[in-house]
Amino acid sequence: MSNDRGSKGWLALVVAWTVVGVPTLWGVAQTVLKSLALFK
C-alpha cells in the first residue's frame, strides 16, 4: 500500500473535505433557518 492510499492519504482526504465541508454546512444551515420564515 502506497502512502496516498494508506492512513496518511485517507487522513489528508478527511481533513480536506472537513476544511470545505464545515463552512459549507454552516452556511447552508444559516440559509435553511432563514428560509423557514416562508413556511410560518
Binding site: 473535505w17 463552512p23 440559509t31 420564515a37
Partner: protein
C-alpha cells in the same frame, strides 16, 4: 524566483497513486471564496452610512452609486475569465489560483482603504476591478483540472466546484454580518475592518486550495477506464481536441454562448427581483421576512441544482440536460402568471425552486458540455471565453425584468399582474435556447487540433 517555483505546473503533477477525491476540495476552497461576491449586498446599507453611521449623511454614497461596485466586479469576472484562459492553460491551476487569491484579497484591502478614506474610486478599483479579476481567474482555474481528473464523471466534478460558487454567498453573508457587528463602534460601521478581515480570511482559505490542487500525471486514467492521451497533462492532443482560437470560430461555441446567455438571463432577472416579486404577487399574504425566506430557498435551489443537474448530465447527456432546462423552464415560466392569479403560494414557490435549480444547473453543466464538444486540451480557456455570455446576461436579465415591469405599471397594470408579461418573455427566451440546443452537432473535423500544427507554430 525560486520561492515561486512551487507554483510551477510541473510541481503540481500528482504521483500515480494519488487519490483524485483530494482535488475537489481544492477547487471548492477557491469557489467558496469567490462566491462571496453574491453576498456583496450585505454591505450596501453600511456603506451608504459610512459617514453618517446611523443614517445617510449628505456626503455619503448613494445606494445606486454603491451598486456599481458589484456590477464592475461581475463585468471584470467575465472579461478576466476570457482574457486569462489561455494563460491559465499554460501556467497550470496552482499559479492561477494563487494569482486569484492575491487579486481577491488585494481587492478587499484596497477597497478597505477606499472606505476608510471615503474615496469611491478606490473602492471601485479595489473590490470591483482587482477583486473582479480575482473572481474571473478563480472561477475558471479548477475547471479543466477537474475534468482531467474525472473523465468518467466530468459533469459531477465541475458541478461540485461550481456549486461552491453558489454556496459561497451563504457563508459570506452571515459571516460578514457577524464581522460588522463585531467591529461596529459609535463612530464606525465596521465595514473597513470587515473588509480587511475578509481579505485575510479568504487569502488563507484560498491558499489551502492553492497548495492542495494537483494535476493528473500524463496518461493517467481512473481505474478501469482507458482515456485519450489528452486527459493527462500532456501536450499531445487527441483527434477531436480543439484549441481555443479554433473553438471560437465554430458554430458550436456560439450556440453554447447563446444557450448560456439565455438560461442565465431568464434566471438572473427573477433572482434579483424575487423578494419584491413574491410580495407584490401575493399582497398582504407574504411578509418581508417570508420573502427573505423565499430568497434563501431559491439560493439553496440554485446551489443544489448545480450539483444535481450536472451529475445527472453524466448519465443522460449534456444535450438532453439542456433540453430539459429549456423545455421545462419555458413551461414553468408560462405557468407562473396563472399560478400567481390562482393565489396558490406552494405551487408558485415550487415553480421557482425548479427554475432556479436549472439556472444553477446551466452554469455547472456547461464546462462538461464544452469538454464534449472541444475535448479537454484547452477547455479552461474556452470556458473563460464563454463566460462573456454570463456578463452579457448579468446586464440584460435585470434590465429586461425591471424595464417590462415599470413599463406595465406606468400603463396602469396592477403590481400583482405586472410580472405576467415578463414571465412569457422569459419563456420565449428559453424556447430560443431550446432551438439552439437542438442545432448542436459534433465539431467539424477541420477545426480539430493536430500535433503537427503545434510544431509548425
Amino acid at each position: 524566483m525560486a520561492v515561486f517555483a512551487i507554483l510551477d505546473r510541473e510541481r503540481t503533477v500528482a504521483p500515480p497513486d494519488y487519490n483524485r477525491w483530494r482535488v475537489p476540495p481544492a477547487a471548492l476552497a477557491v469557489h467558496l471564496s469567490i462566491g462571496q461576491v453574491y453576498a456583496f449586498s450585505v454591505f450596501n446599507i453600511p456603506l451608504s452610512h459610512a459617514i453618517g453611521i446611523t443614517t445617510s449623511a449628505p456626503s455619503d454614497w448613494s445606494l445606486s452609486t454603491i451598486g456599481w461596485v458589484f456590477s464592475v466586479a461581475i463585468v471584470f469576472l467575465g472579461v478576466s475569465a476570457a482574457l486569462f484562459g489561455s494563460w491559465l492553460e499554460r501556467v497550470g491551476p496552482r499559479e492561477a489560483m494563487f494569482t486569484s487569491a492575491l487579486c481577491l484579497s488585494g481587492g478587499f484591502f484596497v477597497g478597505a482603504a477606499g472606505i476608510a478614506f471615503h474615496q469611491f474610486w478606490l473602492l471601485l478599483l479595489g473590490y470591483g476591478v482587482l477583486g473582479g479579476i480575482g473572481l474571473g481567474i478563480g472561477y475558471i482555474s479548477p475547471v479543466s483540472t477537474l475534468i482531467k481528473w474525472f473523465p468518467d464523471r466530468p459533469g459531477m466534478a465541475t458541478g461540485l466546484a461550481i456549486m461552491g460558487f453558489g454556496g459561497g454567498a451563504m457563508i459570506a453573508s452571515p459571516l460578514s454580518v457577524k464581522l460588522m457587528e463585531h467591529f461596529r463602534t459609535p463612530t464606525s460601521t465596521g465595514v473597513t475592518e470587515t473588509f480587511v478581515a475578509l481579505g485575510v480570511i479568504y487569502l488563507l482559505y484560498m491558499m489551502f486550495g492553492v497548495f492542495t490542487v494537483r494535476l493528473p500525471a500524463p496518461g493517467w486514467a481512473p481505474p478501469g477506464m482507458s482515456v485519450r492521451a489528452s486527459t493527462g497533462a500532456t501536450k499531445s492532443a487527441a483527434p477531436h481536441d480543439v484549441d481555443v482560437s479554433s473553438a471560437v470560430r465554430t458554430p458550436q461555441f456560439w450556440l453554447l454562448w447563446i444557450m448560456l446567455c439565455l438560461n442565465v438571463t431568464a434566471g438572473i432577472g427573477v433572482l434579483g427581483q424575487a423578494s419584491a416579486m413574491i410580495q407584490e404577487m401575493f399582497p398582504g399574504v407574504i411578509t418581508v421576512s417570508a420573502a427573505a425566506g423565499f430568497v434563501g430557498l431559491l439560493s439553496l435551489a440554485n446551489m443544489g441544482g448545480r450539483f444535481a443537474w450536472s451529475s445527472l448530465s453524466d448519465y443522460i447527456g449534456r444535450r438532453a440536460t439542456y433540453a430539459t432546462f429549456f423545455a421545462l423552464g419555458a413551461v414553468l415560466y408560462a405557468a407562473i402568471p396563472s399560478v400567481g392569479r390562482a393565489g396558490s403560494i406552494a405551487p408558485f414557490v415550487l415553480c421557482y425552486v425548479v427554475i432556479l435549480s436549472m439556472y444553477g444547473g446551466g452554469f455547472a453543466t456547461i464546462p462538461a458540455y464544452l469538454r464534449d464538444m472541444f475535448g479537454t486540451m484547452q477547455v479552461g480557456a474556452i470556458h473563460g471565453r464563454l463566460l462573456t455570455a454570463w456578463s452579457t446576461a448579468g446586464v440584460c436579465g435585470p434590465v429586461l425584468v425591471n424595464y417590462i415591469r415599470e413599463y406595465r405599471i406606468a400603463h396602469g397594470v396592477a403590481k400583482a399582474d405586472a410580472y405576467g408579461l415578463t414571465m412569457y418573455v422569459m419563456a420565449g427566451l428559453l424556447v430560443v435556447g431550446f432551438i439552439a440546443n437542438s442545432r448542436m452537432r459534433p465539431v467539424d473535423a477541420k477545426y480539430h487540433f493536430r500535433v503537427a500544427e503545434e510544431g509548425a507554430r
